[in-house]
Amino acid sequence: MRIDCEYLKEFVTTKLTERELSEVLFTVGIENSIISSPTGPVLDIEITPNRPDWLSHYGICREIAARFRDLTFRPRILPEIVRPLKPEPFSITIEDPADCPRYSGCIVRRIKVKESSAALKRRMERVGLRSISNIVDISNLVMYTCGHPIHIFDLKILTGRQVVIRRGKKGEDLILLDEKKIELNADHLVIADAEKPVALAGVMGGLHSGVSDSTCDVFIESAYFHPHLIRRTSRQLGLKTDASYRFERGMNPEGTMEAMGLALALIEAETGQAPQVTYLDDVYPLPHAPQTIFLDKSYPSTLTGVVLPEHLSREILTKLGFTLTDQDNRWQVTVPPFRVDLSGREDLVEEIIRIYGYDHLVAQLPSGCSRKMITNPEREAEIEVGHHLTGNGFFEMVNYVFQAPEDNLSFPEYAGVIELKNPLGRDFSQLKNSLLPGIMRNMVFNVNQGFSRLAVFEFGNRFYCADGEIHEEKLLAMAVSGLFQKKDWRTDEQPFDFSTFLTLVQSLFRKMRWPLRLIPDQHPFYEEECCFRLSTQSGDLGLIGQIKQDKVIQSGLDSPVFAAEWLFNRLRQTGRPRGYISWSRFPATKRDFSFLIDRTKSFRDLVQVIEDVKPAELSGYDLIDRYQGEKIAADQVGFSISFSYRSGEKTLTAEEANSLHRELVWTLVDRLKLVQR
């Protein structure tokens, strides 16, 4: 809303410039900017939803006067409205006081509707309104001055010498000032005469009942409507006007007569003649109950931490329109009826400190808060994982939580997918049950930026519904694709394969002390031959493998993708805690074993047998070579394993080691039909 500083100065004698006023309003909490207009700069203010009383020049004046000790807000002095001795017959009827707690109205006869005077036109221009006619401009100016919206009707259109404030009836319609026709119903509050609705109460007047060149007599309405009803009507019909904006936030039920008086005073000023009031009534079935708040005199200082002398609090509140009654060590504060935003003493403290100035607050730190501190192992694990993965060349991704239904369908085990009622679009209509489709999209994006090495990870939730309950679980997802090693002067380029991915994963698990036990499994998102589940004592925690080729191609990548996704919180709990375990003082000795094995067997099968039959002295073994080709039969593959033997009691002699090794080799050859080389 535009504020004309020249107009302000008619009510508060300040010498501040536009710039200075802008600054003052900003510091007391009113957002604003300076706009230039043909007649000079004006302010454009923005209110917070709780302060509709700022939507007027009076409201702004009050703030400025409160801010400066030497200023006083003096609203326009209005002549007392004289009730006509013999009023003409007319009636105002309110159907439901709850909808309309107060309706003040008057008839003014022999009004000449014409072009506004130069002064009025200038005022309109400065507050950003189009000048229509003297009467219409005056009704707008009343609203912009004291904040209360009024409405002026052409009296001759009102049939039956009455105005009824009632709900609309089904089947009724009304053509509004903007020439749109609306169908009315019982949710709408209307102003009607004996026959028909003539205005949508608090929102917009009817086209035909408005003031025009042919108007000679007017009916001035100044009323208070229930905010919720006006809001509902405005929303339902999609109509937002200056009037509805104010009414729905809460106007001043005690301000209707002042607004009417202001209208009459402005008419007199504009026409040069005292208005001929032939009817006046103020129907006030539901009087406003004044709101009282008790404020301990010491409370402002306690809440702000600033020493606020009592007289300061009293002065500021009084200037803002509050009435204070002394009650020993507290005040009984009466809230002015134009303030709809206060509920307790903290609100009063805010009024005091914001007018006094937040710059009076002295920055202090609270002294240490003593309470039981706890560790946060989930956060620490996340930090450690982040360090390790980034150190190993992974980039962290952060994505939205939304997923398209097709992407979620690739994970059939998560049947309870969660949908949004009002998504941004179909592709964002569900919540993720896996992070993998999202990070694959991230990889495609970066391939298109020219990156050939893709290694990413993400921490994020998956969402699902089970037994009617909503669940969220944190996942850790990792994926790689493209080149593991770029070509340089020493090495050839090396693409990622499952083995290099697994090396990186193993490195993470080792760092975190998580056991890595993988069991072959099947899943529609992964290739049949390359899919493993992570099996732990607390259950299966996720999968790792090669993403199905058709999914990879569909997403737009052309190199294979290897990925893993795990339930992070359960995974981190599998970690072995640190602790000292004594190690053997005696050296280990190695023996190698080279052999051929049937190609249909996998390394896994070997491991299973070794684990099954290994002697206590076997401290470890490594696959040091694997060969196939010319010198080996087509249906076989060759391995070389280096076994380490160590005793906890003594240094093994060569014969003892040989004996253990022979024993082990013999068993392996026997069980797996190996051919020793």
């Binding site: 600033v306 903290e346 937040y358 240490g368 982040g386």
Partner: protein, 343 residues
């Protein structure tokens, strides 16, 4: 004596012949030169010294032999040097580039979040977390947000289908509510996390964004404590020279409330058309206030005994202001180039 010296001369020659083939680099060359010609311990230098003790008649002869040896060694070393320069096979070029060992980085939002967390942890705050899908009660009602508030419209908040009263949280304040309901005061927490609002993505809005909110509840906490805490945080996060402005505003869950601004470090308020602060000279970074007594009551905390403050900031906004990212959507593109720069 004469035999001894000529034998020594022979030994030195043999020793050199054995060594010369092993010269591979400039440092080898230098070492060899030192071995034979160094003033104190050089083997040839030693021969010349021994010459002094030889009887006069034998001197010229032996002297000539040593000279011949010296010339022989010097020539051989010069040749070795020349060969070195021509024959690159044995030379090691230490200026060749090292292999690329890839280094990854945390996402800028994670990095900034950790920066913010560290500052508050240092001040004694605990990091709390809560679910991303929340009840309307925890997200709005418990925070004193009335039913007809525009934020509760379907065009601002994401509602969960088939689960009445469940939404994607619009701020991390519900974490504070949960914490207050399950822990007696004193309370000192920050709650970072993802939050969701139904906004179409543009340069300053994304439907998913991250916040860090904070809460301190104890006896005797007041507004100046809030100002002090936030000033402390802003100085540590943006730098000592930053100026802060504390300005009144409105939130349903705090009273009094304050918006916090920092001085624009691009133009310092001197440029009316500054792209960052739009000429204001100030950038809004935090919302805050004293926790509304009704909110405390809703969590079973007696506002006559305890008071507290709360504050909140957008991690994206802090990232953009501190590191100059021009468009918020870039933070969700996950472009390696941006992550490399800011992570």
């Amino acid at each position: 004596m004469m035999e001894l010296l000529s034998q020594e001369i022979e030994k030195v020659r043999e020793s050199f012949n054995a060594e010369v083939g092993k010269i591979q680099s400039a440092s080898d060359l230098r070492v060899t030169r030192e071995t034979y010609f160094s003033r104190k311990r050089g083997l040839v230098t030693g021969l010349y010294n021994r010459l002094k003790e030889v009887p006069g008649a034998d001197k010229p002869g032996l002297g000539m032999e040593i000279n011949r040896l010296r010339v022989f060694i010097e020539t051989a070393l010069q040749q070795a040097e020349a060969t070195q320069l021509q024959d690159g096979k044995n030379r090691i070029d230490y200026s060749l580039p090292p292999s690329d060992m890839p280094v990854g980085r945390l996402h800028p939002l994670t990095f900034v979040r950790r920066e913010i967390e560290s500052i508050f942890i240092q001040m004694g705050y605990e990091v709390a977390a809560g679910p991303e899908i929340e009840t309307e009660v925890n997200n709005f009602d418990a925070l004193n947000v009335p039913l007809n508030h525009p934020a509760r419209d379907e065009h601002d908040t994401f509602f969960i289908a088939d689960h009445d009263g469940m939404i994607l949280r619009t701020h991390t304040s519900p974490v504070q509510i949960r914490y207050m309901q399950s822990h007696p005061p004193p309370i000192q927490i920050i709650a970072p996390g993802k939050t969701f609002r139904k906004d179409n993505p543009d340069a300053t809005h994304t439907p998913v964004f991250q916040q860090v909110e904070g809460l301190l509840v104890d006896k005797g906490i007041h507004f100046s404590h809030l100002k002090g805490t936030l000033e402390h945080f802003l100085r540590l996060f943006f730098g000592e020279s930053i100026r802060m402005m504390f300005r009144p505003t409105f939130f349903p869950f705090t009273e009094p409330s304050a918006d916090v601004y920092i001085s624009c470090f691009l133009c310092e308020g001197k440029n009316d058309s500054c792209p960052i602060c739009k000429g204001r000279g100030w950038l809004e970074v935090l919302g805050s206030g004293m926790v509304h007594p009704q909110v405390l009551r809703n969590c079973g905390i007696n506002p006559d005994i305890y008071s507290g403050f709360a504050f909140g900031m957008g991690i994206e906004r802090m990232t953009i202001v501190k590191y100059g990212v021009p468009d918020l959507r870039m933070l969700y593109d996950n472009d390696f180039r941006l992550i490399e720069q800011l992570g």
